[in-house]
């Protein structure tokens, strides 16, 4: 079983509610649910779409063609035309489609039913009931999803009534002949998590106790989620006056011995750069979560992109070590976030977690047994008297003391400094201190995460991607079923783990898949290894590659002799 439902509506029509209710109901009915959305940067109107894929196995790819397309406004058809195949069943009000689609169209008026219940606001819950009926969801499960969603019992009851009307609408109609083949997944301890929640839980599990931020799409959901957990977990979530204050606050918290991070997007990070350089010079750990969106300037606030790799790679003035991570999927995000904290703390450096809008909005059942917890290590020492914050060591890492723990005095400095942290302009010390800081890069590299390779032992073609493109690329390649092609997927972009080099050098034909114009990761591979890519498959429309789209592009690229 593998069905894709696309819901297309105007902002403010409540499609998010259907997404939440359906995901929960499908999950509780033992289906595997994957959903994501693309939406406009507006509060009302426009056209947005949500994609929900339900399967009897763990399908985490973003599918283009809908089995069921629900249109909630007249503009929806035009918006979602590229989601329609000859097999797509389309639902919507009588005049929502053109004649071209009449053979695959079923007229349905959720709004009329909602109005008969007293208010147009119930239209989305009627739709929820209808879709639940289509997939044979047990009404108790559907009702429970509603009860969990609406805190007010009166409101919940009215929505249950609306949901029941949706069930009736399905059963008393010609739609009843549409029968999806329903097949459940083996039940496991699944948790329905989003990209932003995976990052947030990773941070909590890394013992992060301070999050400073300034709101910026698409990164804010991490802060919203954690702000709501302040009464359950020991964490301070504070909205600062700007990104400059946010990053400096995170540095202040780390200086005080507390693991901290910021969540932002490209433009916000641009403002943080100076602070990052302070973290680097003062050797204060720092973790930056950056959810990418198309840029420059305001770009497309609610769209997706992978164009900020160069920003984090080259950002801030001066030479200093850093680590850049980009999670493949939710399980990986949970792990990688913890890893980013560990590296930042251990090497007193800046760690980045690079995600994107597509990743932030992604929701699916996570097998909780596959959530990997890294026990947070303590890297803070109780200072002795005559403590030297920047003592020279062979690894470049000095023991990190904090104010108020031990008998030593801790002096940190954004100016070049001596071992005690006092300002120096001594030529020899300047050289040694810079070398000390850069020395840490060797340690960071020695722990770099290995890329994942999927494919035959001997290969002709190698497809390379990073971050959230993993699942889609993997599925697209799987559909091509070629025995001469492998996939190399990175979740740590800098410094690179050289194990990937084996595959990069073996391949005759190197293809990079990226969501940016210039192939920033391909450029990084070239910079690090001198290996040039043969082909760049890239998309920079602010929309994520679909599985089918990638399959076609890869097929063309692979046939090129």
């Amino acid at each position: 079983m593998d069905y894709t439902i696309v819901l297309t509506a105007a902002a403010g029509q409540g499609v998010e509610t259907i997404e939440t209710l359906l995901s929960k109901a499908f999950k509780n009915s033992n289906f595997f649910v994957f959903s994501d959305k693309e939406y406009m940067s507006r509060v009302r109107g426009g056209v947005n779409s949500t994609t929900i894929r339900i399967s009897s196995k763990e399908n985490k790819g973003y599918k283009q063609f809908a089995n069921f397309l629900f249109l909630f406004t007249k503009q929806a058809l035009e918006h979602s035309k590229d989601r329609i195949s000859k097999d797509t069943v389309i639902f919507g009000e009588e005049d929502f489609v053109t004649n071209q689609y009449s053979s695959q169209f079923f007229a349905i008026d959720f709004l009329k039913t909602a109005k008969s219940l007293g208010s147009a606001v119930y239209a989305n819950t009627v739709a929820f009931g209808f879709i639940s009926a289509l997939f044979g969801i047990n009404t108790d499960i559907a009702h429970n999803a509603i009860k969990n969603h609406f805190a007010n019992t009166d409101v919940a009851q009215k929505n249950i009534d609306a949901c029941n009307e949706g069930y009736k609408l399905f059963k008393d109609s010609p739609y009843i002949k549409i029968k999806p083949k329903v097949e459940q997944i083996t039940p496991k301890k699944y948790a329905l998590l989003s990209g932003s929640q995976a990052i947030a839980f990773g941070a909590l599990s890394a013992n992060a106790k301070f999050l400073s931020f300034y709101p910026m799409s698409p990164s804010t959901d991490v802060a919203i989620f954690l702000a709501h957990q302040m009464d359950k977990f020991d964490i301070v979530v504070e909205q600062f006056e700007d990104e400059i204050a946010s990053v400096n606050a995170a540095i202040g918290a780390w200086f005080g011995g507390t693991r901290a991070f910021v969540t932002t997007s490209g433009g916000g990070y641009a403002l943080m750069e100076e602070g990052v350089s302070l973290a680097a010079m003062s050797e204060t750990p720092l973790v930056v979560h950056l959810a990418q969106r198309p840029a420059p300037a305001t770009g497309l606030p609610t769209r997706t992109s992978q164009s900020d790799l160069n920003l984090v790679l080259y950002s801030s003035h001066g030479d200093f070590p850093r680590a850049i991570f980009s999670p493949r999927n939710l399980e990986d995000a949970f792990f990688v976030t913890q890893k980013a904290f560990d590296i930042a703390d251990k090497y007193q450096c800046v760690s980045y977690i690079l995600t994107d809008q597509f990743f932030m909005s992604m929701i699916y059942n996570v097998d909780t047994s596959r959530l990997e917890f890294i026990e947070p290590q303590n890297y803070i020492i109780q200072t002795p008297t005559d403590y030297k914050r920047y003592e020279f060591t062979t690894t470049g890492v000095s023991k990190r003391g904090i104010p108020g723990f031990g008998s030593g005095i801790v002096v940190a400095n954004g100016n070049e400094h001596d071992e005690y942290g006092d300002i120096t302009e001594d030529e020899e010390l300047t050289k040694l201190m810079l070398e000390k800081r850069m020395q840490k890069l060797n340690g960071i590299k020695s722990e770099a995460l290995e890329p994942i390779y999927i494919g035959p032992e001997t290969l002709k073609n190698l497809v390379v991607c990073y971050g959230s493109l993993y699942e889609n690329t993997k599925e697209a390649l799987g559909l091509l079923d070629r025995n001469d092609t492998g996939l190399l997927s990175y979740s740590q972009l800098y410094p690179l783990n050289d194990k990937g080099l084996d595959y990069l050098t073996k391949a005759q034909n190197l293809i990079f898949v990226e969501q940016n114009f210039s192939g920033q990761f391909a450029q990084l591979i070239w910079r690090e290894y001198g290996i040039k890519t043969n082909r760049l498959i890239n998309k920079y429309t602010g929309r994520q590659f679909f599985v089918e789209e990638l399959k076609e592009l890869l097929q063309n690229a692979l046939e090129v002799k």
Binding site: F201, F210, S212, M230, A249, S282, G414, Y420
Partner: protein, 288 residues
């Protein structure tokens, strides 16, 4: 130097003080060390977070924990440090350019956030480290290296501004009077909340207008002033010549850290708290 006692640092690079002879930062440092002594604080109890400028170099010339950071950014760093460890006495320091120009936004929002820290502004009405440019508090008409035909921008009245923002503690002193400055600093550090202390501090090299003599002639210590009276405080703050000194305004309110849920029950500083893995696991399994 002898006035500093245990607050005199013994580190090799802390002896070579880069303040000019006669700099107002010297008596300011004396007053600060005296205030620490009066409060019976140990060097390890205190963390000074400073920005950039001659004033900000103080962390190297006084024996406490220190973080010499970036221009304008001392306040957010000090705020988070205090939130991470409320047991520390946290002081943010910088000059007039540091706190009012580059860090102006943090100054405003620091007042709103009301972290229990003391903010000391070394106000010499000029840029010293970069040698003589006009600052946000330079007087109209003063000729500087970068305003050679005279400053025409309105100087910032930070004391009045802070009072209108309902700041928790607002004071001004003049380092020519170490005793009075010490008294203000003792109260500011003791006060629970965001305590702003603006200290007039002559720059002997680059400000030939606002000299020791000028400050002596153009300032006076307020008598019989009620700092709990906001209108009176504002009225005093708006006086231009002579400039009043003393504690203008005290507004008792809950500091930032005490508003944080994590400190409502448990007073242990955040850095001492361990990861809540079991709770996280349960939460994910039961609620998602």
């Amino acid at each position: 130097m002898s006035k500093l006692g245990e607050f005199e640092p013994q580190r090799p690079d802390s002896f070579d003080v880069s303040w000019c002879p006669g700099c107002g930062n010297f008596p300011l440092r004396d007053a600060l060390a005296l205030a620490f002594k009066k409060l019976e604080l140990k060097p390890t109890d205190i963390a000074i977070v400073s920005g950039i400028g001659q004033a900000a170099k103080i962390v190297h010339y006084i024996n406490t924990h220190g973080f010499h950071t970036l221009h304008g950014r001392a306040i957010p760093i000090a705020t988070a440090l205090k939130a991470a460890n409320p047991d520390l006495v946290v002081i943010a320091e910088g000059g007039d350019g540091d706190m009012y120009s580059e860090g102006g936004n943090h100054f405003l929002h620091g007042i709103r956030r009301n972290s229990n820290i003391t903010v000391i502004i070394h106000n010499n009405q000029i840029y010293g480290l970069t040698k003589g440019q006009g600052s946000p508090t330079t007087i109209i008409g003063q000729h500087t290296t970068t305003q050679p035909f005279g400053v025409f921008e309105e100087p910032l009245n930070a004391v009045a501004l802070a009072i209108t923002l309902n700041a928790s503690f607002v004071a001004r002193g003049y380092v020519g009077n170490v005793g009075h400055t010490t008294k203000i600093l003792v109260q500011a550090i003791t006060h629970k909340g965001f305590s702003i202390v603006e200290l007039f501090q002559p720059c002997v090299s680059f400000n030939k207008v606002n000299t020791y003599q000028w400050y002596s002639e153009h300032t006076y210590i307020m008598q019989n002033h009620n700092p709990k009276d906001k209108n009176q405080a504002l009225q005093k703050a708006l006086e231009n010549d002579p400039l009043p000194l003393g504690i203008f305004y005290i507004n008792e309110k809950i500091p930032f850290e005490e508003n944080l849920i994590c400190y409502k029950q448990d007073k242990a500083p955040l850095f001492k708290r361990t990861v809540q893995t079991d709770k996280i696991k349960r939460f994910i399994q039961d609620d998602f």
